[in-house]
Amino acid sequence: MGAGLDLFAAASAEGAWSVAEVTRRARAVIEAGLPLLWVRGEVSGFKRWQSGHWYFTLRDRTAQLRCVMFARENRRLPAPPADGMQVFVFCRPTMWEEKGEFRLTVLELLSTEAGGLWQVALEKAKAALLRDGLLDPARKRRLPPYPQRIAVITSPDAAALGDIDAVVKRRWPLAELVLVAARVQGEGAEAELCAALARLTRVPRLDLVIIGRGGGSKEDLWTFNSERVARAVAAAPVPVISAVGHETDFTLCDLVADLRAPTPSAAAVAATPDRVEVLEHLAHLEARLSRGLASRALLVRERLDRSLDELEGAMALRVERWRHRLAAASGRLDALSPLKILERGYAVARDAEGRVLRRVAQFPAGLRFRLRLSDGEVPARVGDAGG
């Protein structure tokens, strides 16, 4: 068999492959032979580049694979995986030609540990909020008891808004609702929620805000676990009720808010007093008002009656005293009456002019005068004296 291996010919420019040809062929073979697949393994050597791309190795006891997850894919994830974490990756096996390296281009990454990446992100954000004192219960503000203007930050086309409106209408219709629309899930939701919270300062005489949404999957609710949203809630100018529709898990937004309600309806109940109860309170106050006035009036009348009695008593006493004085005076007057003296046999002599004649010298002979006796008068005349 004639032609043996011609080492020189094989090494010639015509016979040898270029590096790029090998990697290109290898890449084609790999991509054609291996479909998109799920791979399970432990993360190690994780590195996040400035570009936002993630590089790490996936390993088990006997082998390892280089992996890359580009920024446009990993942006959807709440947090990067930690070294040592058990994960599933959905990936495209390929050849990285520039480095001649076999690797997996990761399209999706799930943690198999409890809570997974979500939990990691949550714990990280929570630690940051805790460090800044934003989870301190002493920070929580008291809700105003009779709110008149309530802002609602939610999606305008979701059920949450209608639920809140129905409850407020029934319980406390004098409150005004102000919708501050924001997307609550998906791309841009985080920024819109933060912007909505920031815009609250433009609402005059605002009493409180309800921020929330109806129930959804864990991923749907994730926006409310964003550290940015949590910080915006903490910075809100009025008390915040967080109402992210889920009964069991607390979001960061819930933890930072002044009150956490399990649903938007529950938030509306917490935000408002019940009109019926307030009307009852008013009726009670009305009764106390009337009683208060009645007892004031009664007190005044009693005092008036007492005064009248005292006045009457004083008058009676005075009249009695006058009567005594009058009696005494009239007795004395009676005793002094000249008629009384005349009754005892005396008479008074008076001349024609009525002057009382007291001395003998006033009785010249022949003088006519009158004698006043007790029962009348007699005319008289002085006779010739002794001769």
Partner: protein, 81 residues
């Protein structure tokens, strides 16, 4: 970032000024004073009349509103509601 205020400002110009909470506090204060019995009849009457008037307006506010007033705070970056 700071733009001219949205149409909101004109929307709220007609909003009622006295807060319900303030009115209720005043009413409760009136009741307490009337019950303290340290007033003369004239003052008591005046307080009573004020209390009754406040009660009336507060009841009206609680019962008259048929529907919640809703407003929308517009986005700064779009002229639409």
């Amino acid at each position: 970032m700071e733009r001219s205020p949205p149409a909101w400002e004109t929307l709220v110009a007609d909003a009622p000024a006295p807060s319900f909470a303030t009115q209720l506090e005043r009413l409760e204060e009136i009741v307490r004073q009337l019950e303290s019995q340290e007033l003369d009849l004239d003052e008591s009457l005046k307080l009573f009349e004020e209390g009754v008037e406040r009660l009336r307006t507060m009841r009206e506010r609680l019962t008259a509103t048929e529907a919640t007033i809703k407003r929308v705070l517009r986005r700064e970056d779009s002229g639409r509601e």
